[in-house]
């Protein structure tokens, strides 16, 4: 399980964020005393740090420099300051990414995953395997029992979204938002069309009812 350290002095946000990341399947470490940041990082060895800029006492930039002296852990700045100058400064002191508050939560999660992947912790990103189906996101193919079919970009993304969270129901709205995040700007009707085509391809592979529809709730695999 990957561990994320939250450095944030607003208790409400800290706690809610910890709960949210916990629900997403991460382990969470919370840092309240900023003066011990470097030592705590050495001790906890987090896989990623979420760092607020506007901290009491020491600011996030200084803290980032201190952390960089002892560790190469990916650091994502989460901040309510949003000028280009702030962003530039954050990246120049060694931050890996920069997200502004109030954050779009799916985006936050996605960026965390990207930063973790970039660090090589999560290498098997070009194919996902769930219940006997292998989705190759690079080649754009679906494989099952030695048979393989080609899928379109939209179909790959739809499946990727569902297969990343097996067993979980993903609502149509969340699915559409995920696709928009990936520059696929489709509406409800187009999603239905894509879903139907995807289902028939899965049926060809012998995986009828691989995607389960929960009426009024969404889809799951």
């Amino acid at each position: 399980m990957q561990k994320i350290m939250i450095i944030e002095d607003e208790a409400d946000i800290r706690n809610e964020l910890a709960q949210l990341l916990g629900n997403e399947g991460f382990m969470v470490a919370i840092l309240e005393q900023t003066d011990t940041a470097a030592a705590r990082i050495n001790e906890e060895k987090p896989d990623l740090v979420l760092l607020d800029i506007g901290l009491q006492g020491k600011d996030g930039y200084t803290l980032c420099l201190e952390i960089r002296r002892v560790s190469q852990v990916p650091i994502i700045f989460v901040t309510s300051r949003e000028t280009s100058i702030d962003e530039l400064k954050a990246l120049s002191v060694g931050g890996d990414d920069y997200i502004t508050k109030p954050y779009n939560i799916p985006v936050l999660i996605a960026r965390i995953k990207v930063a973790l992947r970039r660090c090589g912790e999560n290498t098997a990103a070009d194919h996902i395997q769930v219940k006997g189906l292998v989705l190759n996101t690079l080649k754009g193919t679906l494989e099952h029992n030695g048979k393989s079919v080609e899928a379109t970009k939209n179909e790959v993304k739809i499946l990727a979204c569902l297969m990343q969270r097996p067993g979980e129901i993903i609502s149509r709205m969340n699915l559409i938002e995920y696709l928009w995040e990936n520059q696929i700007y489709i509406d409800d009707n187009t999603l239905s069309v894509n879903m139907t085509r995807l289902r028939s391809k899965l049926t060809d592979l012998g995986l009828k009812d691989y995607i389960i529809t929960k009426r009024g709730m969404g889809y799951k695999v």
């Binding site: 709960q19 100058i85 109030p102 520059q183 700007y185």
Partner: protein, 336 residues
């Protein structure tokens, strides 16, 4: 100053000389001075008068030219009296002193106002940062406790956020402080980020998005432009038609890049089109829909001036509205 104008100012003086010369000639003639001597006296008189006038004219004209050069070269014209050399005559000196006093008090007033504005703006900036903390907490709480109610609250939080953001950029647009960075940014990336930011609103309203490849790099501040495109997108949603669509298209115009954001919405009546960038202008559509503040595009216009972006609009009622942003060529970006 033209010679004619100079002489017109001295009409009385010249008339007096003329009368005095005439009176003197008459008197001398009557008292028996010969005509030749009178003529010589008149010539000497004229030469004296003309040379005095010419010298005076040249002095004044040189000074006026200096004033012209100074005022033209000044960016902040109210600093004029601080730069002006002491004038050549006592009368002008007295005037100069009085004007200078007035200018001093104006300079003080201006710098006071600037300081106040800066303070106010800094307050708005820090207030915006502070208000974002509870908005963020609210979002996280809603997300951690998903229900029909929390979704509604989340939607309202989004509206609050949009208003807060506008207030922030309004404070920035009206400020003399310039805290933007001009750098090469990928237009594609900016459009992508803006769509992502507004995606819930866009999806909820069934908006179709067409992004033509925008392979252009522009020299500007990405964050500011994101905000501007955001306002345009929000307007396109607000004034949408039944099958709403937004198209992003860019083209090269020499060194410049023009991005147009075109919707197929209800459009803007021609007589109102010229006013949409005015402060507080809401128009027939804005009043019909309600909730329009008339600030979004006004702020965009102000920001675009800082970034040297040309902002223009085209529209046809019940057909489309197209807002174009023309980004300056790299070479033409003047020192900011």
């Amino acid at each position: 100053m033209k010679v004619k104008d100079y002489l017109a100012d001295r009409q009385g003086k010249l008339l007096l000389h003329l009368t005095a010369a005439a009176a003197m000639s008459a008197f001398l003639q009557l008292t028996g001075t010969s005509g030749g001597i009178v003529v010589i006296l008149l010539i000497v008189w004229t030469i004296g008068l003309v040379s005095v006038l010419v010298a005076d004219y040249l002095k004044i004209n040189t000074y006026l030219n200096t004033m012209d050069t100074i005022i033209e070269g000044l960016d902040k014209k109210y600093l004029f009296f601080e730069c002006l050399p002491v004038p050549p005559s006592n009368f002008l000196k007295k005037m100069f002193q009085i004007f200078r006093q007035s200018a001093k008090s104006m300079i003080e007033a201006v710098s006071d106002a600037e300081a106040q504005q800066k303070e106010y703006r800094e307050y708005i900036e820090s207030w915006v940062h502070e208000i974002k903390v509870p908005i963020t907490a609210q979002q996280l709480i809603c997300k951690n406790n998903e229900s029909e109610v929390s979704k509604k609250i989340l939607f309202q939080a989004g509206r609050i956020e949009a208003h807060v953001e506008r207030a922030l950029y309004y404070a920035r647009a009206g400020s003399v402080e310039k805290d933007f960075i001009i750098e090469a940014v990928d237009l594609n990336e900016i459009v992508k980020k803006t769509i992502s930011k507004y995606r819930t609103l866009l999806i909820r309203n069934g908006m179709q998005i067409e992004v033509e490849p925008l392979p252009a790099e522009v020299y500007t501040d990405g964050k500011w432009v994101e905000f501007m495109i955001g306002q345009i997108v929000a307007n396109a949603v607000r004034y949408r038609s039944d099958n709403p669509r937004i198209r992003f298209h860019s083209e090269r115009l020499g060194g410049q890049i023009r991005l147009s954001v075109t919707d197929n919405g209800i459009g803007i009546p021609p007589h109102e089109l010229v006013r949409i960038f005015e402060r507080g202008f809401t128009g027939t559509n804005g009043r019909k829909e309600g909730g329009s503040t008339g600030m979004g595009l006004y702020i965009c216009k102000k920001l675009s001036e800082f970034l040297q972006i040309e902002l223009s609009a085209e529209s046809s009622e019940n057909e489309y509205t197209s807002i174009c942003m023309t980004f300056p060529a790299k070479e033409s970006l003047t020192e900011m």
